[in-house]
Symmetry: C2
Subunit: 369 residues, 2 copies
């Protein structure tokens, strides 16, 4: 991690929840002097105790080089306006998942100038609060930096160097484009996962027990915090009002076709939808942003006891085979699971042989990208 230059290690973080505390921990580790502020004294104490920085003595001291507002979406605009009015820093930024709304609130207050730049570290978590914080929360993540037409070069440089100091990759995005894309790849999947999970609530327990890993994967996002997401989606309401029909309209058209009574037309409609979905999946980023590679999977039966997984990964390591992705599947009633390991295509036979040699039950799984 290089020396933070343009913000000179002088950072005020307002809001010591998961993101603010994690930024404090990462910036402190990078050698910065971090000041922390929160309206909730207990949360602030906790962040200080975790080592995320020291208490901000208040606006009477010199302005910080960089102020980062990391409060819930609903309060982001107000705290930014207050920070700009009180001139708390040379650069004023935030971490909100939505960019346009706080920017418009600042503009409406007549305060949009070269000091302000929006930003958004894209590190989704299904948790909140300082106790979930980590200096590594942003390692290997994209940190969107979203200048307005008024933003100065120094403000952009300050936030980009903070992002780098936190281990993230800063990516510059137009604020409106940010909201549209995040609406599609983050907020929309959240709502769809919740709507799908909500249908499970209607089932009898014996029936929901028939659900497998597919439904579990599909609804994982549905564990997210209701209040946080209510604020994010409300702040990005126009984008999601337009995006939701891109999912619901094809499904409603399909439902009409299925109700229509022609098996062949129903078949063709489903087939077309699934083929389009496969094309979409192939556009998801390959690992580490590399061009799409082909992967193969290996299935291994794992007993449900400590050490079962360790032996499998040790065998892969001994063969110098890199595991690209993994998934553990359990089903009701039996004390074993099946581990699916994804490898670069062509390595699966070597891993299967190595595992069988060591007494494991291993077979070839799916191929995909």
């Amino acid at each position: 991690v290089s020396e933070p230059a343009s913000w000179r290690g002088d950072l005020l973080v307002i809001g010591t929840g998961l993101v603010g505390t994690s930024v404090g921990l990462a910036a402190t580790r990078a050698g910065a002097r971090v000041l922390l502020h929160d309206v909730d004294e207990r949360r602030l104490d906790r962040a200080v105790a975790l080592g995320a920085g020291e208490r901000w003595p208040g606006p009477d001291r010199d302005a910080a080089r960089l102020v980062l507002v990391a409060v819930p979406p609903r309060h982001t605009g107000g705290v930014l306006i207050d920070s700009l009015q009180r001139n708390l820093g040379e650069t004023i930024s935030h971490t909100c998942s939505v960019q346009l709304l706080p920017q418009r609130e600042i503009e409406a207050a007549g305060l949009l100038d070269d000091r302000f730049v929006g930003s958004h570290p894209i590190a989704g978590r299904e948790t909140s609060g300082p106790d979930g914080a980590s200096p590594d929360l942003f390692a290997d993540r994209t940190w969107a930096v979203c200048p307005t037409t008024a933003t100065g070069a120094a403000a952009i440089a300050a936030v980009e160097s903070l992002a780098s100091a936190c281990g993230a990759a800063p990516v510059r995005l137009d604020p409106q484009h940010h909201d549209e894309v995040l609406g599609r790849v983050s907020h929309l999947p959240q709502l769809v996962a919740s709507a799908l999970a909500a249908t499970i609530a209607e089932l009898a327990p014996a029936d929901s027990a028939l659900a497998g890993a597919g439904l579990r994967d599909s609804t994982r996002l549905a564990d997210s915090d209701p209040e946080l997401w209510a604020q994010i989606v409300a702040a990005n309401a126009p984008v999601l009002a337009a995006a939701l029909p891109t999912v619901t309209a094809p499904l409603e058209a399909l439902a009409a076709e299925l109700a229509g009574g022609s098996p062949q037309r129903a078949h063709d409609a489903v087939r077309a939808l699934i083929e389009t979905g496969r094309r979409g999946r192939q556009l998801l980023p390959g690992k580490h942003g590399r061009p799409a590679a082909r992967w193969s999977s290996v299935l291994v039966v794992i007993p449900d006891q400590p050490g079962g997984l360790a032996a499998v990964f040790a065998a892969a390591a001994e063969e110098s085979i890199n595991i690209e992705d993994l998934r553990l599947e359990h089903a009701a009633g039996h004390p074993v699971g099946v581990l699916e390991l994804w490898l670069r295509q062509g390595e699966e036979d070597r891993l299967i042989a190595a595992l069988r040699e060591r007494g494991w039950t291993a077979t070839s799984g799916a191929a995909g990208s």
Copy 2:
């Protein structure tokens, strides 16, 4: 695995795709004599070569005790009718994901009697063909057994003992109830995942690169085989025509609320949806069908090289900590990943300490069930 009693190890499998070949491999391993048949000679040769059984010499020999039809949904009814007409076995069953349609086809042909029982080994895979087959495909899985009102006790016993011989847990279900529940927990998530993945196809590559693990998890099912799923959904059309609106209607109502311009109403609508989704998620089966336990997660930064994962699991094994679930997250641009390990609540501090002692970067993650 106990000795297969009621079908006396005498099995004819018609259809040597993924499921038929896997049943052949499992039954052969359990000591059965397995005969195989397929209209595709190459696929049949492949299944025989894999050790799933021997070629069926044709209908002139004695009838098999148990005939299992494992062909695509579209052909299931026809092959069952043919098997019943030619009296190929004492019990005639199948493995189709949909129960009512083949049953009605048999009924319409006037052949519904005590020999027929529907069945469905619930082992979803995103692959097909004999080369993906495994004798462990059904280990730890539910195998639905769906008698009609005409089915005899011997037929039920035959299929249940085959399921057990394959390592699965047989569960008796009314055929219509089977189709309704599988429609909700399997076919509906497939369509929703495909519809969500289809929206990615509209994005520019630079934009889809901003997608994270959440969207990847939510759309994993979208990799499935279009033709197979077109046949499954068409065969279960009435159930899905009714089930799709349970997902689309709440999302359309939400879109209307988001377009309405009241931030507070938008907020409340999203919050209600996400809270209902969380309740649904909590009804998903706990691991091994145990009552829901509380889990905690630990996040570990993993370098992208062989052996990285092995050392983490070795540390857990040394501490006798069982890993209940796991997920590997990658993001664009950086050659490391973050591994999320799920443990029984209360064990996370011990694992974090053990990992830090060994030089790993480990922090506390989310809590959930």
